[in-house]
């Protein structure tokens, strides 16, 4: 699993950092959230999905990778934005968002 923060959307609430300080951090200059691991260890998958669903501005995107993804924590290189976008487009499932509009 990978996780990306849309830094244009980020509302700087810091909720993700409170939830998972080992996975997210805030930039000192403006409070925007960053992901500090390349891949999310198995043990944190559920917590990362929760953090994504709790983000007040839905800026966190979870990229569920295919079987066989390595679980070596921060060993691998971080995904590029484009790569993340492709993954997101293919894999992103909106986590139970409420749709009250018509």
């Amino acid at each position: 699993m990978r996780v990306v923060v849309d830094q244009d959307l980020c509302g700087t609430s810091g909720q993700c950092v409170l939830t998972l300080p080992s996975t997210f951090r805030q930039r000192e200059s403006d409070g925007v959230a960053e992901v500090c691991v390349a891949t999310v260890p198995q043990a944190l998958h559920a917590a990362v999905r929760l953090a994504a669903s709790q983000c007040p501005v839905a800026a966190i995107r979870v990229i569920e990778s295919d079987a066989g993804d390595d679980e070596r924590g921060s060993a691998g290189p971080p995904p590029t934005t484009l790569e993340a976008e492709r993954h997101a487009a293919r894999d992103q499932r909106h986590p139970g968002g409420y749709d009250g509009t018509v």
Binding site: D8, G11, T12, S13, G14, Q15, V17, L18, T19, L20, P21, Q26, E28, S29, D30, G31, V32, A47, L50, A51, S53, Q54, P56, V57, A58, G97, Y98, D99, G100, T101, V102
Partner: protein, 429 residues
């Protein structure tokens, strides 16, 4: 209270929230609204949402399906806006801005509100807490009643703000005296005299901050005002002195009346539910669970003070909210919605034990800090103040008891206090 009879036809929920019955206990009425009129249209045409799912949706959709009023539009939504200083200041606050201006301004401020920055304030907050409790101890130990609201709940956030803004404590106490009047003036139901009182207090705050900005420009220190003055001077086109004053004014308004009320509610919960005190006597997760449950049970700002303007016709629960309507959310009701929190009127910190702050074990969002782009900037600052206070109050004064009925501010909008008299139980009684 006979809610059914009182509100068989609810013409105006805002007026109902100002009724004596609701000032005493607004939750039966909120329940009635959720069950019978969850997308309420008030006499003045404002909409009020009271179900958790609808509120969460509206907060999330702010910046998309909803926007803040444009400066020129304000007069349409507030007929008295042009003449009112308070409403003009409100119009320039972060909470009324739309992206992309909102995004830029919020990030300018956010650098002083990162989780790390707030965590760095813990020792300062703990020191203020200890000093305030020391100050209350002699009178309490003599058997006297002490007003915990004034001496502790209100004093703590005021002193924390003085520290953050780099202001002398006495100046902060002086400014704070007018904040309640300003908040009442911003309620949709404010009378002309209330708005006039708010404007007089706003004028004092504005003049003070104008002077403070000049002093920080000449003699910058490590505080938020100095930092924002620097940001302003580097970028004069987009952050005017007026905007800077509005921002500081907005932080004061959002910051300490609400924090004080939550400290008051937490102490009341501690006294009313002795069997739940163990949450404050164990680990940080237990304290967090207690704090979140207090925030859920009594949202200090019961509904949103800022207009959310519908960008298009929106159908919600079979009701059409026409484009350009002003939509408010009754977050205190959403927090008591049984569809989100089972047995919602029961005080039960277990709902939040071991979870991420603000989320229940069922994955439901506690709404008191809002959601979406306007999520409370000071949420973590408030949480840290509560977490640093409650275990110390309990440890220092284990026999604390009410010395009389707490007095609430007569507000339809804020669930806040005027006084919370406490004393210590006599030995052996």
């Amino acid at each position: 209270m006979d809610v059914q009879a009182a509100t068989a036809v609810c013409r105006d929920a805002f007026a109902e929230l100002a009724s004596p019955a609701c000032l005493h206990d607004p939750y039966p009425f909120m329940r009635w609204l959720r069950e019978h009129d969850p997308v309420h249209r008030s006499a003045a045409g404002l909409f009020l949402l009271s179900r958790h799912a609808d509120i969460l949706w509206a907060l999330t959709a702010t910046g998309d399906a909803f926007r803040g009023p444009a400066p020129g539009e304000l007069a349409r939504y507030f007929p008295r806006a042009a003449a009112s200083l308070s409403l003009n200041l409100l119009a320039s606050t972060l909470a009324m801005k739309n992206p992309p201006a909102h995004t830029r301004l919020r990030r300018l401020i956010s650098r002083d509100f990162t989780m790390r920055q707030i965590d760095d304030l813990r020792p300062t907050i703990a020191r203020i807490v200890a000093a305030r409790l020391d100050g209350m101890a002699p009178a309490l130990e003599r058997g006297e009643a002490v007003d915990l609201h004034r001496e502790f709940a209100l004093a703590l956030p005021m002193l924390v703000f003085a520290e953050l803004f780099g202001m002398p404590q006495d100046d902060m106490f002086g400014l704070a005296a007018g904040i309640g009047a300003i908040l009442e003036g911003l309620s949709p139901h404010a009378s002309d005299p209330q708005l006039a009182a708010a404007d007089a207090a706003s004028a004092r705050v504005k003049a003070y901050f104008g002077g403070l900005i000049q002093r920080k420009r000449t003699n910058p220190r490590f505080d938020i005002v100095s930092m924002l003055v620097g940001a302003h001077d580097d970028d004069a086109d987009t952050l005017s002195d007026a905007e800077l004053i509005s921002m500081l004014w907005g932080m004061l308004l959002g910051g300490f009346t609400t924090t004080a009320a939550t400290i008051d509610h937490a102490v009341l919960a501690m006294l009313a539910h002795p069997q739940q005190r163990h949450w404050l006597q164990r680990d940080a997760a237990g304290v967090k669970a207690f704090v979140e449950e207090v925030l859920r049970c009594d949202a200090p700002a019961m509904f949103s003070s800022i207009p959310r303007i519908a960008q298009r016709d929106i159908e919600l629960g079979g009701v059409v909210i026409p484009k350009n309507s002003d939509v408010r959310v009754l977050i205190a009701s959403g927090n008591r919605d049984p569809d989100a929190f089972a047995d919602p009127d029961r005080f039960d910190p277990a709902r939040f034990y071991g979870t991420s702050p603000g989320m229940s074990i069922d994955g439901k969002i506690m709404l008191s800090f809002g959601h979406g782009i306007h999520f409370c900037l000071g949420a973590q600052l408030a949480r840290v103040q509560l977490a640093e206070s409650l275990p110390r109050i309990l440890a220092r004064f284990p026999t604390l008891a009410l010395a009389g009925q707490p007095t609430r501010e007569p507000s339809a909008f804020l669930r806040t206090f005027r006084a919370l008299p406490v004393r210590l139980h006599a030995q052996g009684s």
